[in-house]
């Protein structure tokens, strides 16, 4: 690809600021209905209705964690079977080499460990974190998104985006302020 977003658009997008969650939810609904796709809402705490309004697909997290758990459980059991039965069988108090009840505890712990690791790493990977730079941080007011303000961003690469019209559209949604987000 030859054209970078930088070359195509002079800015990253427009950011609208809202004072209450209700205003934001209403705005997100309208923006979604108006057919914008490259939209993001930035909130101080999780608000499920915003995710519903944007019709986000179901999170892939459960599948990732299930995969991690199964991998961990199998790896834990196989490690024990291989080391205690095949690689170095030892007679301990006449117990069978494949004394599976004794292997359950490490198997269980490995299941939990791998599932939890995949939950954490999977969450960061799906979210693209760590992300040291993001254009939204160029807006000074954005620091309040981690306090009590709610923001809505429409990216410039959205096909329906037009600097002037989109700004007016956002102001009509009772945004208290609309600012340009530089790259």
């Amino acid at each position: 690809m030859s054209t970078t977003p930088h070359a195509k658009h002079p800015m990253y997008g427009l950011m609208a600021e809202f004072h209450t969650a209700e205003e934001l939810i209403e705005a997100v609904h309208k923006v979604h209905e108006a057919g914008f796709h490259n939209v993001d809402a930035l909130t101080p705490y999780p608000i499920e209705e915003v995710a519903h309004a944007l019709e986000l697909p179901r999170s892939k997290m459960p599948l990732i964690v299930l995969g991690g758990g199964i991998t961990g459980g199998l790896a834990g059991y196989m490690l024990q079977y291989w080391s205690q039965v095949l690689e170095y069988p030892m007679n301990i108090g006449g117990r069978p080499f494949h004394s599976w009840p004794a292997f359950i505890v490490p198997t269980f712990e490995m299941t939990i460990l791998f599932a939890a690791l995949s939950a954490v790493l999977g969450m960061f990977a799906l979210n693209g974190l760590p992300e040291p730079y993001h254009p939204v941080f160029n807006v000074p007011r954005f620091a309040l998104a981690s306090r009590d303000l709610y923001f809505l961003v429409i990216e410039a690469r959205d096909p329906k985006f037009d600097p002037e019209e989109t700004r007016r559209f956002l102001l009509d949604l009772h945004a208290s302020e609309v600012s340009e987000v530089a790259h």
Partner: protein, 471 residues
């Protein structure tokens, strides 16, 4: 969820419950109040408190240095009691850790929204308690620099750990518990680290909070995955926390020593762990709440609920004591019966009586509503439980070992000055980490608290209902 509207609400129908957050808070005030604890100038008392803790930590360093130079012979362990303070303290600390995970995971799944203001703090307590606990088995190995031999890794000796041994199960259980608790805590911290990054004025602080915040910006797409991940972690931690003390109890129950070989051990240990953990949460939270003026967030409601959990788990523990004695008699086994009598009437009878006073008698005060509402009395009862739960492990471990099957091998156990120095030293380690934590990180989860205030929109998977505010 049915909400209580003004018309239908009558105090007679439903007893008054103090609110989870004091009235009048908004997301902004919650953020400012909790982050100001971290961002303001260090209060003078903090230096004193940290100084004392750090001094105790130095005692630990000294005791460990002596241990490395001389060997485990400086401790009181010998035949017949090969396990002493080291294992008592290991079990005591790991038990304390359980309340943190219970609060952060199990109460989250049960939608107990009052947990929100104490979960961060309790999780930190878990981590530090597990760090202290982990010291003991490693030091007890005698050659701690070879402790990595406990892990299964391909080595030139061609050896593998003995997976049929409960001690290896312990390695897996405790290390998994420590790792998962750390990740759970960190994931919960990320949005709050972003808050601190945005709120701190100093450039260095911005960088220090910014790096672990990973560029968190509160995007709805991120929250979407975040909430699912957080709930799954809670779901994974729930069986994990129950398994940890179960596995610790296997260290004893799998053995054939009279007083250890009992099927009641796993549930009895888990209940004891939660009991000890809540006592420690109260012991720490009450002074910190007063010092930082956090009465709006850690309210009467929290104190009452924690008192009730302590009372319930305490009764389970007392039931455990009663059943141990009953089993000893009902089994018809001479050694078991002797062991039970020896605990109650033998040379350690004063330990046992103090145990009963601390764990069975004093906590009955919690039946009284006034006591459940009084920070002073709760602190008083919690201190008794802290001591009582330590004595319980003393009774279980060396007192069971000191007189086993053969009278010719009987002996007495007592901790040496180095045992005490190591124990006091790990208290120093625990408190040092705790004071650093309350100074550098938000001790209450800010973003979850925002969901609890009345004008927050939402209610989410995390926060539970927001309509619980009494009018």
């Amino acid at each position: 969820m049915a909400t209580l509207d003004d018309a239908s609400y009558s105090p007679a129908a439903k007893p008054y419950k103090p609110p989870v957050v004091a009235p009048g808070h908004t997301p902004a005030t919650v953020t400012d109040k909790i982050s100001s604890v971290v961002l303001q100038r260090t209060p003078k008392w903090w230096y004193v408190a940290f100084g004392v803790s750090f001094f105790l930590l130095m005692i630990f360093m000294m005791a460990v240095t002596k241990l490395f130079l001389t060997g485990v012979g400086i401790w009181g362990i010998n035949q017949p009691a090969g396990w002493g303070f080291d294992i008592i303290n290991f079990v005591w600390w790991i038990g304390i850790g359980h309340a943190g995970t219970l609060i952060s995971a199990i109460l989250l799944l049960l939608r107990q929204e009052w947990r929100t203001s104490i979960n961060r703090f309790a999780e930190a307590m878990t981590l530090f308690a597990v760090a202290c606990a982990g010291m003991y088995p490693v030091l007890h190995t005698g050659r701690p620099w070879l402790a990595y031999w406990l892990l299964p890794y391909p080595n030139t000796m061609g050896l593998w750990p003995q997976f049929r041994s409960p001690l290896i199960w312990d390695v897996f259980a405790v290390s998994t518990y420590a790792t998962v608790s750390l990740m759970f805590w960190y994931v919960g911290l990320v949005p709050d680290l972003a808050t601190l990054r945005d709120r701190s004025k100093h450039k260095l602080a911005k960088i220090a909070y910014g790096i672990p915040a990973m560029g968190w910006r509160g995007s709805v797409k991120h929250w979407h995955n975040y909430e699912v991940a957080y709930l799954l972690l809670a779901g994974l931690s729930t069986p994990l926390v129950l398994s940890v003390h179960t596995v610790v109890s296997f260290d004893f129950a799998i053995g054939i020593i009279p007083g250890w070989h009992a099927t009641i051990f796993p549930p009895y240990f888990v209940a004891g762990a939660v009991y000890a953990g809540f006592a420690m949460v109260l012991t720490l939270a009450l002074p910190l709440r007063a010092a930082f003026g956090l009465h709006d967030f850690i309210t009467q409601r929290h104190l009452q609920n924690m008192a009730k959990v302590m009372l319930a788990t305490g009764l389970i523990v007392v039931y455990g004591y009663a059943m141990e004695i009953f089993f000893a008699w009902y089994s018809g086994n001479h050694y078991e019966a002797f062991m039970a009598m020896n605990r109650v009437l033998g040379p350690y009878k004063y330990h046992w009586m103090t145990l009963i006073l601390c764990n069975a008698i004093v906590p009955q005060l919690l039946w009284i509503r006034k006591i459940r509402n009084s920070p002073f009395w709760l602190f008083f009862v919690s201190m008794f439980i802290n001591v009582g739960m330590w004595l319980e492990r003393y009774i279980i471990i060396p007192v069971s070992l000191h007189r086993d099957f053969l009278p010719s091998s009987w002996g007495m156990y007592r901790g040496t000055i180095w045992d005490w120095a190591t124990f006091i030293g790990t208290i120093g380690l625990f408190l040092s980490l705790l004071f650093l934590f309350v100074r550098l990180l938000p001790m209450i989860s800010i973003f979850e608290m925002r969901t609890l205030v009345p004008d927050a929109k939402g209610g989410t998977n995390l926060g539970g209902e927001t309509t619980e505010m009494p009018r």
